[in-house]
């Protein structure tokens, strides 16, 4: 493998930190000025992200003029002890460059939209403060020049996401969902932290360049462990199996949050992490196979559950789970597919953000209802929302010549190109997923905008104000065109990060895969139109077991409850019991036996001290005995 080197930044590019500082300053000002900035605070929030976007564009063009397309900046020494030297360093390279544009660009549009969407909310200023904080943290995540910085951003986005999900504090479900998101993210953090400590132990550095250059000398087991730990971190953050359940619950937050954090940016951090760590994953085929398996499983999982949900935001959330599954599949395939995963990520950022904002516009019109069974016929009353949602719809199902066609089809073809039976399985799953995607998205689209009106009596739908439809139109245009425009140039642009790769064909040629995909997509969409153009029941009907299972998130909740919640409760109960009674009970029992005093005269305080003292004594006996054991050996 080639030596990885990052050139120091010069000129404008040495101001990379300003990208992060702008939204961070926005958040700080909004939080510190308090109610005084209620009147103009949201515009400040929009302006800082807009400014960061302009700056990112300038830097992007500056970067493209460089020979090796990297610009590394060391800000200051964070921790320097012995061998370990951790700098607060930033790295702008092709990969972080495209992420920066996505985060600031789509982030800017969503910020503008949120000005209108949150207009009625008393705490709009606080909302924009957290929103800005999130953008700053996300930029640290992608611009960090070592794993340590990435981790800081990683934790930061987790915290901001937690705050924003729980933003609607009045709803207890929001607080629960926030907690769930946080706990899942803790699991991911443990994976990330352990991965960092493995790097420190094995390579002695967290610097991207040093880790990647030293990765070749890792033992197979070490490389696998490192890959799996990073994967666990990525799965937690990106809502991949087995951590998928927090993401749909996170929809309790305001819709712009769902669009920015839980669709376009934060949840793709896992994909970023794997793509960034590509030299580590390239080393170990087992780790890559696990990534592929998780991607394939999750994309089907999300698509199946998505078919059975009736809540507009939850369908979109499961669709996000499923689409990120495609990205995982791509980055797991490795080689040329890394770039395909990133391209799908960017395209998805546009159309999913557009779809979410569109759903927010619908909710606005329908008194915050989310049940698609009570929508229908909305195309006439909200033409802008309808048109832009339609753009997102054709993009996500991948009709030629719209976005998804250029970003998802190559992934399906690449999956079929994998050697042996794995290629058939992964490719088959991806193909089936495409059909299901077409089905549930068409169902969502038709039930929401077409067919008879099934509105509840008190709603009077209306189109949203221009401040909301404006971003929708821009995102809609992006949904239509982004995939086609980006496919080739982005793949070339990312060559310095992922290396050159020959395209090779496996079980199906690209053309065959494309034809097959288009066929199943049309089939899925047609079936959905046929079934749902006349509307649907207004309450769920008793259904066969597959549908019931899908409605119950394919048992994901039950598994969670069985695997985590119940043992957690038992452990908590045990901890209380031991704390209150158990230790005294056990120790007093012991002390009775040891001291010959079998009568316990109630629970006297002296008894407590005695039992504590006995605990110390037993501990001492064990310590000395254990030391003796070492002697005998």
């Amino acid at each position: 493998m080639d030596e990885v080197t990052y050139a120091p930044a010069t000129g404008l590019l040495s101001w990379t930190w300003l990208l992060i500082a702008l939204p961070a300053a926005g958040a700080a000002i909004l939080l510190l000025t308090g109610r005084r900035s209620d009147r103009w605070g949201h515009w400040l929030g929009v302006a800082t992200v807009g400014g960061a976007f302009a700056l990112a564009l300038a830097m992007f063009s500056g970067l493209s003029g460089l020979d090796n397309k990297t610009a590394a900046t060391d800000l200051f020494t964070f921790i320097s002890v012995g061998e370990l030297d951790i700098q607060a360093s930033l790295l702008l390279d092709p990969l972080s460059g495209v992420f920066t544009l996505l985060i600031t660009g789509v982030g800017f549009l969503i910020h503008v939209y949120a000005v209108g969407y949150m207009a009625e909310d008393d705490d709009r200023r606080k909302f924009f403060a957290y929103f800005n904080l999130f953008v700053a943290a996300m930029l640290i995540l992608v611009l960090g020049g070592n794993y340590f910085m990435t981790f800081i951003g990683w934790e930061g986005v987790g915290l901001a996401s937690y705050l924003l999900i729980a933003f609607w504090q009045a709803k207890p479900s929001a607080a629960t969902a926030g907690k769930k998101a946080f706990l899942t993210n803790r699991v991911a953090d443990v994976g990330f932290l352990l991965a960092m400590f493995v790097m420190i132990g094995a390579v002695g550095s967290l610097d991207f360049a040093e880790v990647f250059n030293g990765a070749g000398e890792l033992s197979d087991g070490m490389a696998l462990a490192l890959g799996l730990l990073l994967l666990a971190a990525a799965c937690g953050k990106s809502g991949q199996w087995p951590f998928q359940t927090w993401l749909p619950d996170a929809m309790e937050g305001p819709t712009p949050v769902s669009a920015l954090i839980h669709a376009a940016t934060m949840v793709t951090a896992g994909v970023y992490l794997i793509a960034r760590s590509n030299p580590i994953f390239n080393l170990n085929e087992t780790a890559q196979t696990v990534v592929v398996a998780i991607g394939a499983l999750t994309l089907l999982f999300g698509a199946i559950v998505g078919c059975a949900k009736d809540d507009i935001k939850r369908v979109l959330a499961w669709s996000t789970v499923s689409q990120i599954g495609y990205m995982f599949l791509a980055v797991g395939l490795g080689g040329g597919a890394y770039a395909l995963g990133i391209i799908h990520l960017l395209a998805h950022g546009f159309f999913k953000a557009g779809l979410f904002l569109g759903s927010g516009s619908v909710m606005h019109a329908m008194n915050d209802q989310t049940d698609i069974r009570r929508f229908g016929g909305l195309w006439r009353v909200m033409p802008w929302t309808y048109a832009t949602f339609a753009a997102g719809w054709v993009a996500i199902i991948g009709l030629f010549p719209f976005s998804g066609y250029f970003s998802k089809d190559p992934i399906i073809a690449a999956a079929f190109a994998r050697e042996g039976w794995e290629g058939w399985v992964a490719g088959g799953a991806a193909l089936l997923g495409a059909a299901l995607t077409a089905f549930y998205m068409t169902r969502l689209f038709v039930l929401t905008f077409h067919g008879p009106k099934r509105w509840t009596d008190d709603v009077h739908p209306h189109e949203s104000p221009a401040i909301m439809t404006g971003p929708l139109v821009l995102l809609g245009l992006g949904s239509l065109a982004a995939g086609g425009l980006m496919a080739t140039p982005v793949a070339e642009w990312l060559v310095p990060v992922f290396g050159e790769h020959e395209e090779h064909h496996g079980h199906l040629t690209h053309m065959q895969a494309t034809i097959a995909t288009t066929a199943v997509v049309i089939l899925g969409a047609a079936l959905a139109i046929l079934l749902f153009r006349g509307g649907t029941d207004e309450v769920p009907r008793a259904a066969a077991w597959p549908v019931r299972l899908a409605r119950a998130d394919l048992g994901g909740e039950a598994v969670n409850r069985g695997l985590f919640e119940r043992p957690g409760r038992v452990a908590a109960g045990a901890s209380v019991a031991v704390d209150a009674r158990g230790v005294d009970g056990i120790v007093n029992g012991l002390s009775a036996a040891v001291g010959g005093t079998s009568r316990r005269l109630g629970r006297l305080q002296t008894g407590f001290v005695r039992s504590y003292a006995l605990s110390i004594l037993s501990g001492a006996v064990i310590v000395v005995a254990a030391l003796m054991v070492v002697v005998i050996q």
């Binding site: 200051f76 020494t77 964070f78 921790i79 320097s80 002890v81 012995g82 061998e83 370990l84 340590f148 981790f151 800081i152 934790e155 930061g156 915290l159 729980a166 504090q169 607080a175 926030g178 907690k179 946080f182 706990l183 803790r186 699991v187 953090d189 443990v190 932290l193 352990l194 400590f197 493995v198 420190i200 132990g201 002695g204 452990a571 908590a572 901890s575 209380v576 031991v578 704390d579 230790v583 305080q605 407590f608 001290v609 039992s611 504590y612 003292a613 605990s615 110390i616 037993s618 501990g619 001492a620 064990i622 310590v623 000395v624 254990a626 030391l627 003796m628 070492v630 002697v631």
Partner: protein, 512 residues
């Protein structure tokens, strides 16, 4: 016999603190009662500040305080770790003394006037209106002097004297609460009985090690670990007993059981002093004993200490999860933190700097946390039940923000000292090859983050009860404590470099 040389400058920090303690006792006799408080506080603050400056003046020293001609007498060893920890203790104690002096949050302070009055009797009810005893300041100074001596003790006998010197005043201080006096007295008695028990282990272990090595000097014991012809069983019993006594003070499982009761019963400022300064002293002692005295027998004790560290990390985190009382929660968290710190002890040599940094960072955070606890009150009593803290963010956002920062630091979230300290300590553990311990540490801290975050949720997302506790406005005393603690927590989280540099430069023990 050549003349004894004494390094007075090196001893000056301890001399200043002890002298101030004696002068403080004298003040009790000669200064009129109404003027005692300001005089005692000023004296204690001046003494600790002077002690810190004296420590700083000794920086870079690596010598014994006593020597005759060419021979060093190793009873007091002034080397990098010793001086760093002395400085840490002085600063943390300075902050804790400000908390001891707080008078505004509850009228007359948290301490009882005459401890001999029967609790809850008519006389006791009457004396609740009176200001508390001012003997607490000399007592605290004696304890702090003992701690400063503990971390520079070069032989076991000096260490034992220092241990008693730091413990006895603390037993008294624990029993001096003005409210809930019975619980406080119970805590004091428990702490005393168990502490005395642990001290007996220390003496017994010392005797065994003397039998093995023929000396109580730590360097000598280390030499004997390589060359002594005595039965090694003496060494094992000695190491075991000594470890028990030190681990008791450090609150490691299974020697931790006094911690929650004593932390809850003692007046909160005293708890802060224990959680901050005593922790530093206890680990200072552990680090020195294991790095200097028992390094040559590391292979023998490595396994059992590893087991204790794992039990402490897991046990502390596990019990913390279900706590409903903020002081008990902090007590169990202090136990879990003792487990993390044990990684630094086990890792030896290179981890000393990181362990010391952790001690300093943790001390600031935990003292500030207890200071906030002492501000939130139901009437005159502290509202320590967590359910009473619900919705504090609505009524007192400032206090809630500060407590949130402290909780996030204890949970180890980036940009707080809790994260940098844990990260540094765990990295040092990995570099020393203790990967298993670090894995347990990471998992334990993930579990431990949960109760802290629950407190944060409680503060911000729950509705306050109609009779919610009030946050009493602190005087500049407690205000300074909180401000200093939070400032250090953030500073050491964002730019830990300068203190880490000092700690790692000061991480070498004096070689023989």
């Amino acid at each position: 016999m050549s003349e004894m040389h004494i390094d007075w400058a090196g001893l000056s920090p301890m001399i200043i603190v002890f002298a101030a303690a004696f002068v403080g006792l004298l003040f009790e006799a000669v200064v009129p009662k109404t003027k005692r408080l300001p005089v005692q506080v000023a004296l204690a603050i001046a003494a600790l500040a002077a002690a810190f400056i004296a420590v700083a003046a000794n920086a870079g020293k690596s010598a014994t305080a006593f020597s005759t001609g060419e021979t060093d007498i190793g009873s007091v060893v002034l080397d990098g770790p010793g001086l760093f920890l002395q400085g840490t203790i002085a600063i943390l104690a300075l902050i804790a003394v400000l908390l001891l002096a707080e008078q505004r949050t509850t009228k007359g302070g948290d301490f009882v006037n005459e401890a001999a009055v029967v609790a809850d009797s008519a006389a006791d009810v009457a004396q609740r209106r009176e200001p508390g005893a001012t003997e607490i300041f000399p007592l605290a100074l004696f304890a702090v002097g003992g701690m400063m001596m503990f971390v520079v003790s070069g032989d076991l006998l000096t260490m034992f004297v220092a241990l008693e010197m730091l413990s006895l005043p603390l037993y008294l201080l624990c029993g001096l609460a003005k409210r809930r006096r019975l619980i406080s007295q119970e805590a004091a008695l428990k702490y005393f009985l168990l502490g005395a028990f642990a001290s007996a282990f220390f003496v017994y272990g010392m005797a065994m090690l003397y039998g093995f090595a023929g000396t109580i000097d730590l360097n000598g014991i280390n030499q004997a670990g390589i060359s002594s012809g005595e039965p090694r069983i003496l060494l094992y019993i000695g190491v075991g007993m000594l470890a028990v006594a030190l681990l008791f003070k450090a609150a490691a499982v299974p020697f931790h059981m006094w911690t929650p009761d004593v932390y809850t019963g003692a007046p909160t400022p005293v708890t802060a002093l224990m959680a901050g300064c005593v922790k530093v002293a206890a680990f200072g002692g552990l680090l020195r004993v294991f790095n200097v005295g028992l390094e040559s027998s590391a292979w023998d004790w490595h396994m059992i200490l590893t087991v204790i560290a794992i039990a402490t990390m897991i046990g502390g985190a596990f019990f913390a999860v279900t706590q409903r009382n903020i002081k008990r929660l902090l007590a169990y968290s202090s136990i879990a933190n003792a487990g993390y710190l044990l990684i630094g002890v086990i890792a030896l040599g290179d981890a000393v700097g990181q362990t010391m940094f952790y001690l300093a960072a943790y001390g600031f955070t935990v003292i500030a946390a207890f200071a906030v606890v002492s501000l939130v009150r139901d009437g005159d009593n502290e509202a320590t039940d967590l359910s009473r803290w619900a919705g504090l963010g609505k009524n007192s956002p400032g206090t809630a923000v500060i407590f949130t920062i402290l909780m996030l630091a204890l949970a180890g979230i980036p940009f707080t000292s809790g994260f940098t300290a844990k990260f540094g300590l765990f990295s040092a553990g990995v570099e020393a090859g203790e990967v298993g311990l670090v894995v347990v540490g990471v998992i334990s801290s993930a579990i431990l983050a949960f109760p802290y975050l629950r407190v944060v949720v409680l503060l911000w997302l729950n509705e306050p009860a109609p009779d919610a506790p009030t946050v009493n406005l602190p005087s500049p005393m407690a205000g300074t404590v909180v401000a200093a603690g939070v400032a250090a927590t953030i500073l050491l989280g964002v730019a830990p470099g300068f203190l880490l540099d000092i700690a790692s430069q000061a991480s070498t023990y004096m070689a023989n």
